[in-house]
Subunit: 352 residues, 2 copies
Amino acid sequence: VRQHNIAVIAGDGIGIEVTASTLEVLRAVQKKVGGFELKFDELDYGSARYKAKGSYTPEGWLEHLRKFDAIFFGAVGDPDVPDHISLWDLILPMRQKFQQYVNVRPSAILPGIPARITNAQVGDLDWVIVRENTEGEYAGQGGRTHVGTPWETATEVSIFTRRGVERVMRFAFEIAQKRPRKLLTVVSKSNAQRYGLVLWDEVAELVSKDFPDVKWDKMLVDAMTVRMVSKPKSLDTIVTTNLHGDILSDLAAGVSGSIGIAHSSSLDPTRESPSLFEPVHGAAFDIMGKNLANPIAAIMSAAEMLRWLGENQAAEIVENACKTSIANGQTTGDLGGKLKTSEVTQVVLELI
Amino acid sequence: VRQHNIAVIAGDGIGIEVTASTLEVLRAVQKKVGGFELKFDELDYGSARYKAKGSYTPEGWLEHLRKFDAIFFGAVGDPDVPDHISLWDLILPMRQKFQQYVNVRPSAILPGIPARITNAQVGDLDWVIVRENTEGEYAGQGGRTHVGTPWETATEVSIFTRRGVERVMRFAFEIAQKRPRKLLTVVSKSNAQRYGLVLWDEVAELVSKDFPDVKWDKMLVDAMTVRMVSKPKSLDTIVTTNLHGDILSDLAAGVSGSIGIAHSSSLDPTRESPSLFEPVHGAAFDIMGKNLANPIAAIMSAAEMLRWLGENQAAEIVENACKTSIANGQTTGDLGGKLKTSEVTQVVLELI
Ligand SMILES: CC(C)[C@H](C(=O)O)[C@@H](O)C(=O)O
Ligand SMILES: CC(C)[C@H](C(=O)O)[C@@H](O)C(=O)O
């Protein structure tokens, strides 16, 4: 049997609830398909640990995590901790340290979920957003001086390296090349931001030469939002910077109606470090403990994880079970259904 | 008669066509209402000048412009010139030099324009986006080293000053306070960007204390896009940073279906320098010279200019004429109509 070691970080809030559902589903599909074994290591990293022990993680956590084949992540965020602390103590260091330089976020209008734009039906919107995930606007540099005085100045420094841009661009062209429409849109803001974003566009030009069969175009991020809501069919694969990818992938989930099922894979394509799989939603303390969270985003993330680990058959079974439950209207409130977290989990388990 | 001196920069592409329409309309309303006189100074700043003489503007242009009461701007951009050059040579220096620190962008679903989201009808979406317009992500600092080598690194430096944030925040709270719903949403990305964007949120907290009757909340820009497409009625006045304001205002125009009429006022509320009024659309070389451009965005910008100059009656007449033409379906192709630029202009002139 193929053995896969998975680090499980349920984290905070509903992250804990949807992770529990996901582990049940993973155990079920492993039993059903056979031939592989998932070994879960459940880690207590998160805000509860921070509040009890003063840190999100134990010493040496990144080196500990490095040994796993993949990381499953629930959510992080706590009303008692400023978000920029919780995120920079837990999720963002993993993206950088493990060089998870691509973040893949698919969006589609699925049967059973009504789209939120007037001109798109099932089949009309099927996008993959490839987001740069380690540098750019999330490089993390910057600072504040004269704090609290009228002379205070703060900076945020975006850093773009040619190697960093090139590797994610190449990944995106490859994805586009493998999809039926072979269509790629490169998004930047190179008119107002004339250093890193101009580099972004230049690298796109260069890399495109190696993919003569991919039709590609460039868009500015502001105009891109209009295109997404007005001409969804004109888009297929999209590649963009860290911040713009964050924004556009939420918008994509919004227009396709799929925010409750949006999932995210932070990949190190070299496979030197573990990749990370997580739902896009956050810790959502307002609905925590009420059995209301939609577990589908987390379960779909786990399906992507199975695919990354080479367990394609298991991945497909999980994904299809999720899609069937949605098409049948067996959903939580966010998708218009009446079921609880545990009931949706049960439906998926039965479909498996 | 009250005299107003207006600098007119038609600029490039369809900017030239819609500016011509706008001047006709302004002359007509001046005649109709009386009591004021607009003196237009038409300046040749733009890409044609750059290609002929090597610069977008003559020496001393900013000092020349400073003497006017307002600036009317068409559009800038030319296929032969990289956008980051044309914009940093013409439009962006004006915003900074004249401390036009607020950019006001209203969006509404108007009778006659079908919205692009499924859950909003006329009256359901009536937003004012207040965008910081001089610093933040458009500060203009940054650079590139090792250009063209594999070691190339580029930076973009966002700069936020406490004074800069406070003045735009205060302006936004005032706008919100004057509107019936007294509702303000402050948008940032203070979870991933932990210096300037955290300052942004802190200043919002402080300024809010002076406006106890304004109900306000904070949103992250990514989640904000979802809220805009899914709960449009929950929003009213919005204040955000330079880049996020750029993105969200295009999205607002996209969801309300009003991209063809979106206009933008870059204001120096101290009135020490001239403010600038322009349509949001660009030079659009693809439709240039075809009499296809929608002149309404430019004409609506001019109405805002009249209001800024204290000519409220004239402003209202122009605005109502635009809205009536739209409600009657007398529109250009982008709004689903069949009229040419000149025909729409004619309709507006007759309504005045
Ligand atoms: C939690 C936060 C740092 C994160 C981001 O902005 O990247 C989230 O919004 C996401 O999209 O994964
Ligand atoms: C032309 C460009 C610099 C500008 C911006 O990004 O501010 C435009 O998109 C706008 O929204 O006014």
